[in-house]
């Protein structure tokens, strides 16, 4: 069994929280005491049925205002698969929270209200999905009950979205007509839309292929920690602990340590009490080398036959996440895997109007702004492009005055 991580996006009131509640409810994933708690809550639907959205709106302020402010994670499983859902906020002011939920997802469910079709928010969310490189999109046309379950309405929205998906180069889009409130096509196939021949949402989620197809096969492991017991029996033990972010390492492979450029050979791969012949993307292990090289946290071990990019000047997409605007005159910290280096924004190339997708020049970069910049780092950074490797192609920016995470960057080109 494997795990599918997905998130929901859409405008306020399109029914994101209701849809998640419905998925949980109809898969029998809501436990009795939790159900009792929502049945006793003050918030009810107009027809008096329980409001399933309360399940994810976990903060007092959210329940009071009836909106989602921050990501909530929910978990459920079926016989096929385990699911981790991020219920993300739709408001533009909480875009950074949405990006948080989306950054680890392999699939996005974008909701539209059947009555309104594709709106500005749909464009913005779809743009973020393409920016973050999320491979699968489900366009869930919700509230079909409000449009008499009309095939014509659904088809018109599908056509409209197809144009957008092409423009944004979204790779795989699946269109499903649903009613989160009534439960149509969420878990059970609806008998009110017999014209729809596709799978219910859950069925689709259970079966969609999740292999990290777009991920690079170049072996990389950022070193997080050096294990040195320094006891009598293990006097010379030196193990480099980290998580392989892409590709496969095998015992005997020639490797290069970056940024120093030193090379060596893998003599042993350990995982707790086991010795492994090889390790692949996703695994946390300990690597031993055949020769003494100077390695510490922040270095990256890579396969010598597939070296990464190395540069101090990188063109990157930037999402700004702080209430204080970007300041090109100050030095930020850039955290890329286990490495932290000083960084300036050398140039703002353009900013994207995320409602119209137009690019224009900008002097200011404020909260929730997105655009292309040139990063200038103090140390050489061994990286891959984000389109090849999410893990080795992304970094965060930290403001060292406040210690806040102020930006998310995705590496696109050498500058």
């Amino acid at each position: 069994m494997n795990i599918l991580k997905f998130f929901t996006a859409g405008s306020v009131d399109d029914g994101k929280s209701t849809l998640i509640g419905r998925l949980l409810y109809d898969t029998d994933s809501i436990l009795a005491d939790q159900l009792e708690a929502i049945q006793n809550a003050n918030r009810k639907n107009d027809d008096g049925t329980v409001d399933l959205a309360i399940l994810t709106d976990g903060l007092r302020a959210e329940r009071e205002q009836g909106i989602t402010i921050d990501v909530a994670y929910k978990y459920f499983q079926t016989d096929q698969r385990k699911f981790i859902i991020a219920d993300t906020p739709g408001h533009i002011q909480y875009t950074r929270n949405m990006v948080t939920g989306a950054s680890t997802a392999n699939l996005a469910i974008i909701l539209v209200d059947a009555r309104n079709g594709v709106v500005e928010q749909t464009i913005r969310h779809s743009y973020l999905v393409s920016l973050l490189g999320i491979k699968h999109v489900v366009l869930a046309v919700n509230k079909m009950d409000m449009v008499d379950y009309s095939e014509t309405v659904f088809n018109a929205i599908e056509q409209k979205y197809k144009t957008l998906a092409e423009e944004l180069k979204l790779q795989e889009v699946t269109y499903i007509p649903v009613s989160a409130l009534k439960g149509d096509n969420i878990v059970h196939q609806s008998d009110r839309m017999l014209w729809y021949k596709g799978d219910s949402l859950l069925r689709f989620l259970e079966e969609v292929e999740t292999s990290m197809a777009q991920q690079s096969d170049k072996a990389r492991m950022p070193v997080q920690w050096v294990i040195r017991p320094q006891t009598d029996e293990l006097h010379d033990y030196r193990g480099y602990a980290g998580r392989v972010v892409s590709g496969t390492f095998k015992v005997g492979d020639k490797i290069t340590v970056l940024p120093s450029g030193a090379s060596s050979t893998i003599s042993k791969i350990e995982f707790f009490n086991q010795e492994l012949e090889e390790v692949s993307s996703g695994q946390s292990v300990t690597i031993h080398l055949s020769s003494d090289v100077d390695i510490s946290r922040g270095d990256t071990i890579v396969n010598s036959s597939a070296l990464p990019q190395e540069s101090k000047l990188i063109e990157a997409d930037l999402c700004w996440m702080d209430t204080k605007a970007l300041d090109t005159s100050i030095i930020y910290l850039l955290q890329h895997n286990s490495k932290v280096t000083k960084c300036k924004i050398a140039e703002v190339i353009y900013k994207v109007d995320i409602n119209t997708l137009e690019k224009h020049s900008a002097d200011e970069f404020k909260l929730n702004d997105i655009g292309r910049v040139v990063l200038k780092t103090a140390d050489n950074l061994p990286f891959d492009f984000y389109s090849d490797s999410k893990a080795n192609g992304a970094a965060i920016l930290i403001d060292s005055r406040t210690n806040l995470t102020v930006g998310a960057t995705m590496f696109r080109a050498l500058a």
Partner: protein
């Protein structure tokens, strides 16, 4: 990752190990909060996988309410001896004796709330800058909202409206002096995942997790251990029942469930079929809809 036959438990495990190593790499004085419950026992196994054959780069810290199940303390001491790691005990009794907190009164009195003060004192005394805990997002709806690296101010407070964005697998542990970070490596595990992992890893647990005979009383519809730590009066009827505990905390706030589950397979079976959440057996969460959020804002885990 299906290509490598990397199962979901492997994936959760690898993520947790990565997080533990980030704590080791990013902080000066981290600590692992060990409650004696299955989640923190799981954390200890993950720490072994992250750092052996080296030592843990942090001590284990137990906030001791003084109202423990005997079995958990025995277990704790045996485990610490086996690991050869350092244990620091923060005592709620000592906080009471020092007049820092006042014991609750009445029938449903519990030391659960008092723990927060002892925890914050222990953090301050040892200058811990990161505390690793076994909280999971599936436990409770406020927890479902918390980041994996959750920054707390000098007073331990969580501010849910000002959480830092947390992107990809990059964790920002930068803090100002006096602040600390609560770190939750098993955020993405469910109760069932923990049990499946314990079974797969053959991890030993305190015996109270398994069905046993015990004297209990019924309070607000829940079974509580009949113990000198629970304030009992004439109305309380002591009965002998076959029970087990689903979570382990202070005796006065942890309810038992009637169960015949004696083996781990029985437990997994029981949980898979259960219709009540694990925290449904915690009196402390029943107080109000925002009980957990409020406690977290006050410095609780």
């Amino acid at each position: 990752m299906s290509k490598y036959n990397f199962d979901y438990l492997d994936e959760l495990e690898a993520e947790a190990i990565h997080i533990l190593r980030e704590v080791a790499g990013q902080f000066e004085k981290p600590a692992l909060l060990f409650s004696g419950g299955k989640d923190s026992i799981t954390l200890v196994r993950l720490a072994e996988k992250a750092f052996r054959p080296g030592k843990f780069p942090f001590p284990l810290v137990h906030i001791d309410t003084g109202h423990n199940f005997e079995e958990t303390i025995e277990y704790r001491d045996r485990m610490v001896a086996r690991l050869g790691e350092r244990l620091i005990v923060g005592s709620v009794q000592a906080s009471i004796d020092a007049g820092k907190v006042v014991e609750q009164k009445g029938k449903n009195a519990s030391r659960n709330a008092l723990q927060t003060v002892t925890l914050l004192d222990t953090i301050e005394q040892h200058q811990f800058d990161a505390c690793i805990g076994g909280a999971r997002r599936d436990e409770e709806k406020a927890r479902a909202k918390e980041r994996i690296f959750s920054v707390r101010d000098e007073f331990g407070q969580w501010d849910p409206k000002r959480q830092r964005p947390e992107l990809w697998n990059i964790y920002n542990g930068k803090i100002h002096k006096g602040e600390n970070v609560r770190v939750f490596p098993i955020s993405n595990w469910t109760e069932l995942d923990v049990w499946n992992y314990i079974r797969r890893e053959k991890i030993e647990l305190p015996s109270i997790y398994f069905a046993h005979e015990r004297e209990v009383i019924t309070r607000n519809g829940q079974l509580m251990a009949a113990s000198s730590y629970v304030n009992m009066d004439e109305e309380d009827v002591v009965e002998r029942k076959k029970v087990r505990f689903r979570t382990v905390g202070d005796i006065s706030c942890t309810a038992a469930i009637e169960s015949d589950a004696f083996l781990i397979d029985d437990i997994i079976d029981e949980i898979s079929r259960s219709k009540i959440s694990e925290r449904g057996a915690r009196m402390d969460d029943k107080v109000s809809e925002a009980a957990m959020e409020d406690r977290k804002k006050g410095g609780y885990f």
